[in-house]
Subunit: 135 residues, 2 copies
DNA sequence: CCGAATCCCATGAGATACTG
DNA sequence: CAGTATCTCATGGGATTCGG
């Protein structure tokens, strides 16, 4: 999401701004529709492994393409380990690496906040800003 | 980011999947390029207020459009409070609401993870998966 | 069974210009 | 000063199809 538009169109010179903010880079990755869910599901299964199809079953709505893309990205980032069992129809197993597991903690914090407060956000959106005195 | 493609093209019927997962809804919002930075900047200034221009100065690279859009979204979500001082050139002040402030904690966890571990992610991307024995 | 390739649209977001 | 409006383009991501 971050460097999405390092576009330098028309007459503008580039050098957008520091592309090195780690927070933004991370949010770009976990903000990608399926990443956080994959991490969550894999973390719940950890230290066990999950096969592609099993992962897919646990992530309702994901397409095989997006699961594939997501897992590849996670593997490239060193968050997920991929193990191929060379059977006749090859079986592929995924598990979080130590690094990936460590990411689950902050993600869990985000999840917790969301579960606690998204109702408030919804109320705010509906104009429910009534007798809070503050805010 | 989440309901982005509730598209139902060609011959596919809709009912994508549960659009109610609060985590994904939240990630959709904070994943939006400037949101988390705005929350961070406002949290640092809290309980003080910041004017539009001052916010912009503290968020290098943001365009006035995107800052505007971001702040409106945050206000709609009840995370930011907007105060208009009806002076001649009107002055507008922003601050986090209590809800917004509470979001800064999980975001800080994410930031901390990113600052600690993004270097490892970069190494993984460069193929630096050498003598880790695991992973 | 696992995934790569192709196609294709809607959304995110920058640049620019205009208003009270 | 603090926005809003318009234009444009690249990217995210779903559907579908092909490969090993």
């Amino acid at each position: 999401m971050t460097s999405r538009h390092g576009r330098v169109p028309g007459g503008a010179r580039g050098d957008l701004f520091d592309p090195d903010c780690p927070t933004r880079r991370l949010l770009d990755r976990i903000g990608t529709k399926w990443t956080s869910m994959a991490v969550k599901v894999l973390a719940e299964a950890s230290p066990g492994e999950l096969r592609f199809a099993e992962l897919r079953r646990r992530m309702p709505g994901v397409s095989q393409k997006m699961l594939s893309v997501t897992l590849r990205a996670l593997a490239r980032d060193g968050l997920v380990h991929r193990r191929v069992e060379p059977t006749v129809p090859p079986a592929v197993f995924y598990r979080l690496t130590t690094l990936g597991l460590s990411l689950d903690a902050p993600l869990a914090a985000v999840r917790a906040w969301a579960e606690e407060h998204m109702a408030e956000v919804d109320r705010a959106n509906r104009g429910y800003s009534e007798p809070v005195a503050d805010d």
